[in-house]
């Protein structure tokens, strides 16, 4: 079985859906002849034609608005943001039009908005964002964030087939760094709304997603080696709707939860998870729900600064140890 990168898995997932369902099409900036800034759609235009792989103007509002209109008419658009940082330009139409269309007016809007997000790549403040929190607060959207090559493929396929608008956050740091054996003959679909335990443990649960899954696994391994404690790592995979049951059942086993996310701290998604645990399982807690997150700053460019602002494996180890000491 061939080793497939996260990026290649995403690519194949879209390719398969384009082959399977002729309602599916992709639109975005430089995705056609050029194959996209990260070559995610390399070769798509030659194979599927310019009518299904559409190069657009630099107009994020038009890209997402047009995707919504086409989705109302029964098509299955996949809108690419060249960098997810630019989705902010379409914040209004995504949160006010797309997210509310079914509720307000009974409209069906099956569409995917996807693109590269995340830091650790020296991209500076505007090519490193993982703009998950603002949309996490928007009823009517689904949010997915694969950490593995298998889920990169499985979640894009599930997102394209979903009846609801889905924002798919791919992590550009993982594009070529994460590999996995993926059988060509197997149809891989990752169900939206289901978390997955990446490492079993008894003493502490780390709730995390996207690139932080890998840092958490490394931290868990170190703690096993150095402290002999066993840490469970739960990969949420979907942020909205959130797999609350998976979080609670892991908590009932370990009685301690550490949430790790890459995005900034104040108003980040960890807060919601902490609140839900409080409401649903307060009596199961042997210690406070703790968070490891980025510092509350724009993401600076210089390596020394970016490394300082973003969460690192060592931070997770420090926080886990404090929680284990309860």
């Amino acid at each position: 079985m061939p080793e497939v990168t996260y990026l290649e898995a995403l690519r194949r997932g879209m390719w398969e859906e384009l082959e399977r369902d002729d309602r599916v099409f992709i639109l975005g900036e430089d995705i056609g002849v050029y194959g996209g800034a990260f070559k995610v759609t390399e070769g798509f235009r030659d194979h599927f034609g310019a009518a299904r792989i559409i190069d657009t103007p630099i107009s994020e509002v038009a890209i997402i608005g047009a995707a919504a209109g086409a989705a109302h008419m029964g098509l299955r658009p996949v809108a690419e943001m060249q960098f997810m940082d630019f989705i902010s330009c379409a914040y209004d139409i995504l949160t006010n039009y797309v997210a509310t269309a079914r509720y307000r007016a009974g409209l069906s809007t099956p569409m995917v908005v996807r693109g590269p997000s995340g830091g650790y790549v020296r991209g500076g403040p505007f090519h490193s964002q993982i703009p998950e929190a603002a949309f996490f607060h928007t009823p009517g959207l689904k949010l997915v964030c694969p950490a593995t090559a298998r889920d990169a493929k499985g979640l894009i396929k599930a997102a394209i087939r979903d009846e609801d608008p889905v924002i798919y956050f791919e992590h550009k740091f993982l594009y070529r760094r994460v590999k996995e054996d993926l059988p060509d003959d197997e149809e891989i679909i990752t169900p939206i709304g289901k978390a997955m335990v990446r490492r079993e443990g008894q003493d502490l649960t780390i709730v995390t997603w996207s690139a932080m899954v890998w840092k958490s696994l490394a931290a868990a391994e170190r703690i096993a080696q150095e402290d002999g404690a066993s840490v469970e790592v739960l990969d949420l995979r979907t942020l909205l709707p959130m797999d609350e049951e998976a979080i609670l059942s892991s908590l009932r086993k370990t009685n301690k939860v550490l949430i790790v996310h890459e995005d900034t701290r104040t108003g980040g998604i960890a807060g919601e998870i902490a609140a839900r645990i409080n409401e649903r399982a307060f009596e199961w807690l042997d210690g406070p729900v703790l968070r490891v997150t980025a510092h509350d700053t724009p993401l600076p460019y210089a390596p020394t600064l970016e490394d300082f602002v973003l969460p690192q494996e060592e931070d997770i180890v420090v926080a886990a140890r404090r929680l284990l000491s309860y």
């Binding site: 997402i64 047009a66 209109g69 139409i93």
Partner: protein, 346 residues
Amino acid sequence: MKAQVVQVDPLPAGLSRDQILEVYYYLVLTRSLEERLVKLYRQGKVVGGLYRSLGQEGESVASAYALQPGDILSPLIRNLGSILVRGAQPIDVLRQYMAKGTSPTVGREMNVHFNDLKLGYLGQISHLGDMIPVMAGIALSFKLRGERRVGMAYIGDGGTSTGAFHEGISFAAAQLVPLVIIVEHNGWAYSTPTSQQTAVTSMVSKAKAYGLPAVTVDGNDVLAVYEAAKSAVALARDGGGGTMVEVVTCRGGGHAEHDDRRYQPQEDIEQCAENDPIERFTERVLRASWTNEGELSALRDRVHSELDEAAARCESEAPPDPDSALTDVLAMPPRSESLWFRSSRA
């Protein structure tokens, strides 16, 4: 009684006599329905504000009348006439305004914010400009599927200042999709005159930025609007892409019923009153003898009895069930849970 020779003009714009009567019916229906709403509003039976298309019924009805089954338009607050032409039912409009559980949005949205894609209209959201990209996408789907269907979107002179308008129309033009843009140039955006909205005096100059063909018509001349819209729609249907049609009109009332129009020059108000599209149309069709006062008054009677019935029925209807508020946020799950502090009371 003195005998006289009746001089009948040739029928205009390829319209039949029946169609002319139908246009008249929709003009009267639009205005009368809004007059009902004003009554209900004054009686406190309308939830929230009331927005009228007084003075703009002509361009709304005439532009929509140029469409065919399968086409889709997206109205704004002053395009009640447009959706009535597409088949929206007066009682549903009353239900929307009175927030009834029987309304097309089950009480979730207001006034003309509702849709029927089969009949061919898509309700807007309040954020001005956003419907242009959405309609560009609907027109794109027509193009991608090779369907001979057309989209029509309305935008006000003020709405053309939004970034969403720009991105949507620019995208539509670059993709050559069949989308006709009707710019309603009524001289005001709420209290802001066009002169403060933009440095251009005519909206068609905006079309130049997108390489779109554009025409300006007297928006209170029903037949002129119909002809302009009809050829724009034909061009789009034949794969020629979109057109901007600027309808120069005037707002017959305030921005909404609560607006005292203090900012509007008196002559502006008077000129508009003297330039009523329905009176002009009536006068024209009678002068041309395409119809007669008897037929017209019969249509007016029909409208009023239809509205009496609709209003009576609507008023007796119930508001939506409170916990119906929890359905259809998503397709899956179809229903959200009630929060615990509620359930524990239910």
